[in-house]
Symmetry: C2
Subunit: 150 residues, 2 copies
DNA sequence: AAGATTAAAGAGTATTTTATCTTAAATAAA
DNA sequence: TTTATTTAAGATAAAATACTCTTTAATCTT
């Protein structure tokens, strides 16, 4: 009931994003990123991070290489990787298609009083996540901003 | 990694909100709302719901009465209860003051690349939650809407 | 080919969240 | 005053999430 943070994504999502951001901003280093090094740099459990990056690899966001000097690297350019794709990979493909409240068995036909309200917020978040790339975040060059009107 | 919904609030928060919405839209019934009845109506575990409503009572949103014909009722009018107050009561007072990602030990001084981005979203949500009352939601009379500009 | 390095995969543990069960306290009605 | 009703409170259990450990497979270096 207290101490909890406003948190939309799980730890897996958080760690995955942090790792990807780290990678995006250290790309000069051409080769593969060593997961052990990253886990130490980011202070995330090596095994846990490995699992998360594994998923990102399976989802086609990263590619991996085993053996000496192996590791993980981008499969696509950070410019082409949307926040949406990352979150969907780590939180489930339907992340942006469900209710923010998480209520089951409801929808357009029997909407709760909050429906229209949540849909506004959700669609807005969805749009932002779909139109923002990893590179956008890493370089913080975006100029878009939310604004409330009317 | 799958099956998870985009869920900002916990089950406690969801159940609490649902109960409050139910109460707000059944207010003709002047007396106290029986928690057992509500738990059946809303299909929420009686004991769990009781705990949640207990918190709302402790936080001054509801008032309770024990004994026959007892139950819970609004302490303030639904018009005066903001969504923000409800969520803060159930999710923690700092819910809207922390990072959406939940990362600890960071802030304005050492912002991660997502900082400005998240702050936009967060402030927007915060504003909406603070300016929306339970009655607004229950009657769905709000005309405000999000819109992305620039 | 042999050994070292590194990610993949799967099993197991710990912590947190959600839910239930039991007992206590307050109130009302008989 | 006794009994029934109802919320409060605390202990316990189940489920979900987060994290760790161990083994396997791929790749490189020698
Ligand atoms: S009706 Fe309410 S609970 Fe259902 S999806 Fe819409 S906002 Fe969510
Ligand atoms: S710097 Fe990043 S992690 Fe920290 S509060 Fe801002 S958005 Fe959240």
């Amino acid at each position: 009931m207290s101490g909890r943070l406003m948190k939309v994504i799980s730890k897996s999502g958080e760690y995955g994003l942090r790792a990807l951001l780290y990678m995006a901003s250290n790309q000069k280093n051409k080769g593969y990123f060593n997961i052990r090094d990253m886990s130490e740099e980011l202070d995330i459990s090596f095994h846990f991070l490995t699992k998360i990056l594994q998923v990102l690899t399976q989802k086609g966001i990263l590619q991996s290489y085993r053996g000496p000097n192996g590791g993980v690297g981008f499969f696509k350019n950070p410019e082409e990787i949307t926040l949406s794709a990352i979150i969907r990979a780590l939180e489930g493909d339907d992340f942006f298609d469900k209710c923010l409240l998480g209520l089951p068995g409801c929808g357009e036909r029997q909407p709760c009083p909050m429906h229209a309200y949540w849909m506004d917020i959700r669609n807005n978040l969805k749009y932002e996540f779909e139109t923002t790339s990893l590179a956008d975040l890493g370089q913080d060059t975006r100029e878009k901003q939310f604004r409330l009107i009317a």
